[in-house]
C-alpha cells in the first residue's frame, strides 16, 4: 500500500467507524446467543490486502481502541490483533492466494487466532477458568458468524484501500481482454 496522508486518513476513519459500529451495534446483535466480532475481520482484511506491516499497525491501533472503549486491560486485544494482522499479511506476501473465497478462510483463521490468543492471555493474567463446552461453543459460533460476514468486510476494506494499492497484474490482464484488447493467442 502506498503510504500517504490521504491513505492513512482514509484507513483511520474507516477503522474508527468499524470500531464504533462494533461496540455500538454489532456486539449487541446476538445470533444463537453470541455476536460477531468485526475487529479481527477488519485487521485480517487490512493485512491480507495491504501487507504485514499495515496489518500489524492496524491490529495494534484497533486493539487499543477496543480496549480503551470497553474499559478492558490495555494491550490484550492489541497483542492478539497484531498477530492476526501480521500473520494475514505474511500469508498474502508468501502465498498470494488468488481464489475468490480466500478472504473467507483468512477471516475464519484470523478470528480463531485472535480468540485463542485472547483466551491464552486471560489464563496468563490469572483468570481461573476451566475450558468448558459452553466457552468453546461461544468461540466456535463467533468464528462461524465472522466467516459468514468475512466477504463483505473484505470487499469494503478493498474498496477503501483500492486507490492506494499497486495495480494488480491479474486485474490488469483481465481488463485488457474485456475492453477490446487483443488476447495473446490472436496476437500470435
Amino acid at each position: 500500500m502506498t503510504v500517504t496522508p490521504a491513505s492513512v486518513t482514509r484507513l483511520t476513519l474507516f477503522l474508527l467507524l468499524g470500531g464504533i459500529v462494533q461496540v455500538s451495534a454489532v456486539s449487541q446483535i446476538t445470533v444463537f446467543g453470541v455476536s460477531a466480532d468485526l475487529a479481527p475481520l477488519l485487521v485480517a482484511s487490512a493485512g491480507f490486502i495491504a501487507g504485514s506491516v499495515t496489518g500489524a499497525i492496524v491490529g495494534f491501533s484497533l486493539g487499543l481502541f477496543v480496549d480503551v472503549n470497553l474499559s478492558q486491560t490495555l494491550g490484550v486485544t492489541s497483542l492478539a490483533l497484531v498477530a492476526v494482522g501480521y500473520g494475514t499479511g505474511r500469508i498474502r506476501e508468501l502465498r498470494d492466494p488468488a481464489h475468490g473465497l480466500a478472504p473467507v478462510a483468512v477471516g475464519a483463521v484470523g478470528t480463531a487466532v485472535a480468540a485463542i490468543i485472547f483466551t491464552l492471555l486471560q489464563f496468563l493474567l490469572g483468570v481461573q477458568a476451566p475450558v468448558s463446552l459452553l466457552l468453546l461453543r461461544e468461540i466456535l459460533l463467533t468464528i462461524v458468524l465472522n466467516t459468514i460476514i468475512a466477504l463483505p468486510v473484505f470487499a469494503l476494506m478493498r474498496r477503501v484501500l483500492a486507490p492506494f494499492l499497486p495495480d494488480d497484474p491479474r486485474r490488469r490482464r483481465r481488463r485488457a481482454y474485456t475492453t477490446g484488447g487483443l488476447s495473446p493467442i490472436s496476437r500470435a
Partner: protein
C-alpha cells in the same frame, strides 16, 4: 533493498508486540487510580458522546438485525413473528424497540414503587456499548459522575441486579456485569434463608454459582437468590448492595463427592443481553442511614 524491507517489517512487529506487552504489564500492575486508567477514563469521556450518538443512529439497524437473531434464537417466538410479518420490517423494528424501552421503563418504575427502591435514588440510564467477548462482561451507560453515579454503585433493571459501576466519567460509566469473572456478592436464598456468596462459573458464560456459608445448607432448585445487604452492624462493613435485590434462580445442583464439592448453579433473573434501560442506585445505603 529486500533485506531492508525484511528488517523494517520485523522491527515494526517487534515494536508493536513490545508496546502491547508494556501497556498490558503497566495497566495490569497499577491501581485503578493509576496513570493508564486515568488516560483510559479521559479517552472514554471523549468517545462516549460519539458512541452515544452512534448508538442512537444505529439503533434501527441493530433492532432490524436483532429481530432476525431473536427469531433464530427462540423457536417459541415463531408464531408471534409470523403474525407480525405483514408489517414493514423496519417500521416493526422501530415500534418494537419503543415498546421494549417503554416496558423496561414501566417495569423499573413499578419495581421502584413496589420494592421501595426509590429511596436508593435510582438514576435511569441507557446502555451505549457492550463487550463482545466472554472474558469482559461489561457495558457502558450514558450516565456518569455528572449525574451522581459513583464507582461501586449497584446497577439494576426491572428484574433484578445487573452489575456494578466500575468506572465513571462526566457523562458515562462502565458497568461490570454480574456475569463477569471478577464479580462477586453476598446472597441469601428465599426458601431456607441460607447465606452465601454468588460468583461467576468461570468458563461457562451466563452461569452463576451460589456457595453457601454452611456446607450443609439445604438449597433447592427454583429458589430465588437475592442480595443479602448489610448483615454486620460494624461501621465500614456495609454491603455494596441494598438487601433484597433479586440476583438469580437456582437452576441445577451438581452433587460432588462431598458437601464441599456441591455446585449450585444460578441463572441471573435479569436478561442482561437484551437490556437497554437500567437504573443505577446512587444511594445504596439509604436504608441504613434511615435506620
Amino acid at each position: 533493498m529486500h533485506d531492508r524491507a525484511v528488517r523494517r517489517r520485523r522491527a515494526v512487529l517487534v515494536v508493536l508486540v513490545a508496546a502491547s506487552l508494556i501497556l498490558l504489564t503497566a495497566y495490569f500492575g497499577e491501581s485503578s487510580d493509576g496513570r493508564l486508567h486515568s488516560v483510559q477514563r479521559g479517552a472514554l469521556s471523549v468517545l462516549s458522546p460519539i458512541q452515544e450518538g452512534a448508538s442512537r443512529v444505529l439503533k434501527p439497524f441493530r433492532d432490524l438485525f436483532g429481530w432476525f437473531g431473536d427469531t433464530i434464537d427462540a423457536k417459541d417466538e415463531r408464531d408471534k413473528a409470523i403474525a407480525e410479518r405483514d408489517a414493514l420490517i423496519k417500521e416493526r423494528a422501530e415500534l418494537l424497540n419503543r415498546l421494549r424501552v417503554a416496558e423496561q421503563k414501566a417495569k423499573l418504575e413499578q419495581t421502584n414503587d413496589a420494592r421501595g427502591w426509590d429511596k436508593y435514588a435510582p438514576v435511569e440510564a441507557r446502555v451505549i456499548t457492550r463487550a463482545a467477548n466472554s472474558w469482559y462482561q461489561r457495558m457502558s451507560i450514558n450516565k456518569g459522575s455528572d449525574d451522581g453515579v459513583r464507582r461501586g454503585d449497584p446497577v439494576v433493571n426491572g428484574a433484578g441486579l445487573i452489575g456494578k459501576v466500575e468506572e465513571t466519567w462526566g457523562g458515562g460509566a462502565a458497568v461490570t456485569l454480574i456475569t463477569d469473572p471478577e464479580f462477586g456478592t453476598g446472597g441469601i436464598t428465599s426458601g431456607g434463608r441460607e447465606n452465601g456468596s454468588v460468583m461467576v462459573a468461570v468458563g461457562a458464560p451466563g452461569d452463576l454459582l451460589f456457595e453457601p456459608v454452611d456446607p450443609d445448607a439445604r438449597v433447592r432448585e427454583n429458589e430465588l437468590i437475592y442480595t443479602a445487604g448489610t448483615t454486620s452492624s460494624r461501621e465500614g462493613l456495609e454491603s455494596r448492595y441494598p438487601a433484597a435485590i433479586p440476583i438469580g434462580i437456582v437452576t441445577r445442583i451438581d452433587l460432588g463427592d462431598g458437601d464441599l464439592d456441591k455446585r449450585i448453579h444460578v441463572r441471573p433473573v435479569a436478561d442482561i443481553k437484551r437490556t437497554d434501560v437500567v437504573q443505577v442506585l446512587t444511594e445504596p445505603h439509604a436504608d441504613l442511614e434511615d435506620g
